[in-house]
């Protein structure tokens, strides 16, 4: 009895600490969401989390855009780029992963080591020559520099993630498929791809989120406001509108985080899986 009471107390204490600390930690995000629903501007130095009245004025004003561009344009642009990146990453990374995990070919271990090192490479060593290259192709101010590298599996990180996963698929399946007359491509399409579902979801998820939040590359390559993505749109908001329109800007910030929230809460287990197997940065 005594022991039971004691463990009950420790558990309650743990709950209490976790909850209090959690609220403290999430305070900025909660404050952001609530403030974006408040009226006027003065309230932005008000730390209170309880709104006197709810108003969507900031959302309406923000959504109508900045510099004569409707905010929905940025949303559509970002979504298109992200979906293209997801598709490219899935195709190219799963192909490379299949080669590394299942096929036998010359210099395989060398290439694998090279790929692993390339994950740790700071991107800035390649930034300038890549820019020159894409500039010469006439690709600056298009989405191609954001998408084409993904078609060539430059996010080696996901190759590694998929290799780890494919190695866990039983070899017997490949062998019986071979007996049934499947070639290497057949094994890839009929066994490896269907069974890699979870790892492919993780890959898609992180591809989407990282591209959604990416700032550096979009800043570098996209110059025309009508082609701006969400991150650039938000930044334009900040630059063009002094202190007076913090409200619409914060409202649009909240909207920009919407897709992240939705993906996170619907696909939670894939997050943990992705992070725990490969130690995704962040």
């Amino acid at each position: 009895m005594n022991r039971k009471a004691k463990s009950l107390i420790t558990a309650s204490a743990s709950h209490l600490i976790i909850i209090i600390f959690g609220i403290l930690m999430l305070y900025p995000v909660i404050w952001l969401i609530i403030s974006s629903l408040k009226q006027g501007n003065v309230i932005f130095s008000n730390p209170s989390l309880i709104p006197q009245s709810i108003s969507f004025e900031h959302y309406i004003k923000g959504w109508s855009g900045v510099g004569r561009i409707h905010f929905s344009v940025f949303f559509i642009n970002s979504t298109l780029v992200c979906l293209a990146v997801v598709a490219c990453n899935i195709v190219s990374c799963s192909m490379a992963a299949y080669a590394f995990a299942r096929l036998k070919f010359k210099l395989k271990s060398l290439w694998f080591a090279v790929m692993m090192v390339s994950i740790m490479l700071p991107t800035h060593v390649t930034t300038i020559p890549r820019y020159v290259l894409f500039h010469n192709f006439g690709w600056v101010d298009t989405y191609l520099p954001l998408v084409i590298p993904k078609l060539l599996a430059t996010d080696a990180f996901f190759v590694f993630l998929l290799v780890q996963f494919i190695r866990g698929i039983p070899m017997d399946l490949d062998e019986s498929a071979t007996l049934d007359g499947c070639g290497r491509a057949g094994i890839f399409f009929r066994i490896i791809v269907p069974l890699s579902g979870p790892a492919l979801v993780t890959t898609s998820l992180f591809s989407f989120l990282w591209t959604w939040d990416d700032f550096f590359n979009q800043l570098l390559y996209i110059n025309t406001p009508i082609k701006y993505t969400i991150t650039l749109g938000l930044r334009m908001f900040m630059d063009s509108s002094g202190q007076s329109s913090w409200g619409p800007m914060l409202a649009m910030s909240v909207l920009s985080m919407g897709p992240c929230f939705i993906l996170f809460f619907t696909l939670q287990k894939y997050f943990v899986q992705g992070i725990a197997t490969t130690g995704i940065k962040g």
Partner: protein, 304 residues
């Protein structure tokens, strides 16, 4: 003979299939990683503005960096300060939270999810803008401090003494990925270790330092290396918070921000390439030091 030929044919087919599937990655690696690396090494020895042909300077860029460019030295200082503060703080914090989260409690899955939210959102432009607002002179942080302590706190973001610390805080706040990796590591530690220790009369704190930390050292090593590499490359937050200028008084002039300014604002691309190579070397040296030192503090295996 025919068997040999069959084996040969199979090998050839293996190779062909292997390279076929590897092709996208291999082309990407050669064209978008290997070739640009060589190219940027070459640029780093030249003056290059993308309009005219590169002009050979030898070590000129490198010499200028370390002898004639105060902003560069400042960016090094800021970046080192940031990395050495943010990375250890983040890891300690992540480990503590992982320790708390590694209990059998109701709703623990929900708690872990909630604690990951800052990491989910933290790298975005939106949060960087929020940070700027929260820590401005008339921001929420100051109005809380004012009402609690009646003091007039500094304008954090606008004050060169404190601006960097707000960015450190923003980084530490995003401890979620490290936490999840630590949690995965904690699950690997056998319960028997703790049982044996409590039979020997060791308290929770002793257990933490004698069992938990030593068993986790491989995970700590991994987290340390990954976090350090990404911290050296931090960009977005500094860019947004300082409006792309690294101010006030260059106090948030991160290395990559200065590199971006040099390369894409002044179009000194040779100089920016040299900066990129120095960054690569710095990261390589620190990674090597950490791995070297790990022999003396990382314990693999059963931990007996």
């Amino acid at each position: 003979m025919s068997m040999k030929r069959g084996a040969f044919r199979r090998h050839a087919a293996d190779n062909a299939a292997g390279y076929l599937f590897l092709a996208p990655w291999l082309i990407g690696f050669c064209a978008l990683t290997l070739y640009p690396m060589i190219q940027s090494l070459y640029y780093s020895f030249t003056q290059f503005n993308m309009i005219s042909e590169p002009v050979w300077l030898g070590l000129g860029n490198y010499i200028k960096m370390f002898t004639g460019d105060q902003t560069y030295m400042k960016s090094l200082e800021v970046t080192f300060k940031y990395v050495f503060l943010a990375v250890p703080l983040k890891l300690v914090f992540a480990l503590l939270v992982a320790g708390i989260m590694n209990q059998r409690l109701r709703f623990i899955g929900f708690y872990r999810t909630v604690y990951y939210i800052p990491t989910l959102l933290g790298g975005s432009v939106a949060i960087a803008m929020l940070w700027k607002r929260l820590f401005s002179s008339d921001g929420v942080v100051n109005s809380i401090l004012h009402s609690l302590f009646g003091v007039t706190p500094p304008a954090w973001i606008a004050n060169p003494k404190y601006a960097l610390y707000t960015l450190v805080l923003l980084t530490v706040w995003q401890f979620g990925s490290s936490m999840i990796i630590f949690l995965a590591g904690l699950k690997q530690i056998p319960d028997e270790y703790y049982e044996a220790a409590s039979v020997d009369g060791a308290g929770k704190i002793v257990q933490f330092f004698k069992i938990t930390i030593p068993s986790l050292t491989p995970v700590i090593l991994f987290n340390l290396v990954m976090q350090m590499i990404s911290a050296f490359q931090a960009f977005t937050q500094a860019f947004i918070v300082s409006g792309g200028k690294g101010g006030p008084l260059n106090s948030t002039m991160f290395y990559t921000l200065y590199l971006y300014t040099k390369g894409f604002y002044y179009f000194e691309m040779g100089y920016a390439s040299a900066m990129a190579w120095v960054l690569l070397i710095i990261i390589a040296v620190f990674t090597a030091i950490i791995f070297r030192s790990s022999n003396s503090w990382v314990t693999y295996g059963s931990g007996e």
